[in-house]
Subunit: 285 residues, 2 copies
């Protein structure tokens, strides 16, 4: 299919469309995004096309998940090229709610996210997961899809959303799709477009240090502190000094792990220039 | 109809029943309760029977909305007589979820309720509305009814639920049904059964002081402090000293009002013996 998907901005219209399709027996998939779509997002659309009869993409740059010092204002908004990219897939509707409909005057109800939101991103982006949990819950109300697709690049976010949906008994299934990477290993991200060519090279340190960690574990290393030291050395060598965290953690609870006896997740958040990047990788002993 | 309604305790079964009926075009009403049903609850069932094709009653004594010093353990649980009472109406299902399904191990996601939850009950029962908002949101996920019915006796709760549903864009409509009273004026409440006969008499002070307030406003009084003083005098005369609040407030925001220029709500919470009772009344100048 190569038709431009229809745009919906009214919340009620979105809800009615999903309900009408479900009443005719269709299985509905939703991909919540902030736009600035890249191939990672499109792989979520493909996954929905494979698993569902109807695919909805939501595009909403959610102010509630940005801190006051963060890049909400300059976050890329590229609706026209997003729609072009989506036209290559079967997308039944693109939901672009307006800020004033999502957060009307007097708005004051938030989702206090589950415990797994507290470490790592939670410490470095206070309020971020509260904003994420709130907007995702709202989107599940407006677009009560059977399945929702999220990318594994935002590893902690996938845990927060999964646990929130389980705790609040939201009747949508969560599917996590593997991170898509550029040929050289850089995890795809809407924020990559902020990078200058030299920063683009520096940014490879994230995936390279994760690859190093995976090799060390494959080679028998079990002590997290030695792996973390080696990863930090990679960052130092690349001249990246603004590191929020480099961590080896339990893949479910995200508690820091000292000795690797079962699969763990390595998590990184660092700034390359002004651009904050995150990446992660499962390490299996 | 006088058939005993069918009991559902599995969350998925509840969801599937509502969805199946909605897919066949039925309009579904839900009445969330903590059981210990009285005529007030039954008036909500009647309202649902009038407005909807399918009526679901939920019975769940929600631990999350009780404080550590409150009456969660001794709260009346009277399922058998509740089902008998409901058998006189058209009730398609009674949803009695189990604690361990509602709050499984590791449960840690809550709804941080809207601003209107802060004063009055919010100050005297910290965490109460967080528990209410959370369980109501969960019930709306498991039982995505078209309409939900709440009683006006819990006035602040109705505002909290309405605003939460609006903020989180929950696609259920909220209907508020007027408080039902005993012949002598006592607002019906599951907690009235705690009262000894002398306390039952003392408890009339709540509705009597509200009646006094209404008469004063009807008689031209506009100064809240004089009305509140008269109400407090009623409580003193009745020997009720454990008063959480007696308030005259904006009916939407619940901000305290000094001078009555438009409709206000009078709110009371007080303990008669060990039993905490609340009541309210709209006052129209």
């Amino acid at each position: 299919m190569t038709t431009t998907p229809s745009l919906i901005d009214r919340p009620e219209a979105m809800f009615q469309l999903v309900r009408a399709r479900q009443q005719r027996g269709a299985r509905v998939g939703v991909i919540p995004t902030m736009g600035a779509l890249h191939e990672g997002h499109l792989s979520l659309v493909e996954a929905s096309n494979r698993a569902c009869d109807v695919t909805i993409v939501t595009i909403f740059v959610n102010p509630a998940q940005f801190g006051p010092q963060e890049d909400f204002q300059k976050y890329p908004r590229t609706l026209e090229s997003d729609l072009e990219a989506l036209a290559k897939f079967k997308v039944d509707a693109v939901f672009t709610p307006r800020n004033e409909d999502m957060y009307p005057p007097g708005y004051s109800t938030y989702v206090d996210p589950p415990r797994v939101a507290q470490p790592w991103e939670g410490e470095h982006r206070p309020g971020h997961f509260r904003g994420v949990a709130t907007v995702v819950l709202k989107l599940f109300q407006l677009c009560p899809a059977d399945v929702a697709f999220f990318g594994a690049k935002d590893y902690q976010q996938t845990l927060v959303v999964r646990r929130m949906v389980e705790d609040l008994t939201v009747p949508s299934r969560i599917e996590i799709i593997p991170t898509l990477r550029e040929a050289d290993g850089l995890a795809m991200s809407s924020r990559n477009r902020y990078l200058t060519p030299p920063q683009r090279k520096q940014a490879l340190t994230l995936s390279r240090s994760l690859e190093l960690a995976a090799q060390m574990v494959a080679g028998g290393e079990r002590a997290s502190h030695r792996i973390l030291a080696a990863m930090h050395a990679e960052f130092a060598a690349a001249g990246i000094t603004d590191i929020d965290y480099v961590a080896i953690a339990d893949p479910d609870t995200l508690a820091a792990i000292d000795e690797i006896r079962s699969p763990v997740v390595a998590l990184i958040a660092a700034r390359v220039g002004e651009t904050r990047l995150i990446d992660n990788r499962l390490l299996t002993p």
